[in-house]
Symmetry: C2
Subunit: 110 residues, 2 copies
């Protein structure tokens, strides 16, 4: 797999519409979840994996690389992944989702 295209341009980046690039990046498996799990405090790669229901390290590593290249996540010296200021800002944007999800379930019963 070479290295799973981790450094491949985000789909949609060629369109010149950054929102498309962002939606594509976030619309990959575990991307949103990773940001969510890091929302409070940095986690080691293994702690993150545990938090993500033992997702396979292959994808997590790929996503982490992508998110690092995008400038949302960083690997702190001394180990442990954390959000960059930019990543934190992005995460704030998603916060209302939490309450929304609660109301969503109560209405749909998923």
């Amino acid at each position: 797999m070479a290295k799973q295209e981790s450094s491949g341009k985000v789909r949609g980046s060629r369109t010149g519409r950054p929102i498309m690039a962002l939606l594509d990046l976030l619309g990959r498996r575990w991307s949103l979840r990773i940001l969510w799990e890091l929302r409070e405090k940095p986690l080691t790669s293994r702690a993150l994996r545990t938090a993500c229901d033992e997702a396979s390290p292959t994808v997590l590593q790929t996503r982490l690389t992508e998110l690092r290249e995008a400038g949302f996540v960083e690997l702190g010296d001394g180990g442990g992944y954390g959000l960059t200021p930019f990543g934190r800002e992005l995460c704030e944007t998603f916060m209302p989702l939490h309450r929304f999800a609660e109301r969503w379930r109560s209405k749909t019963g998923v």
Copy 2:
């Protein structure tokens, strides 16, 4: 997989944490994009496909089914997919993302 797991429970729904189910659903390819493209007005399936860079109808159909089951999207009588009130609310949540994406690109140059 029978029919592409379209009606399969969302991953994470078993955890009892609706946010996980939501993050998983939205973290599937084209989910976010579909909601985004429908943000203004309803689109026919083909117009939607055009808007989504000619993504394959197979996935779009799968996502649309999932989003319909989730109660975010509906197929209006007379044709054309549109957001439900619930879906519109979800879309509002994502709106700040647009401006964020602009700032994001100007800083990272992706």
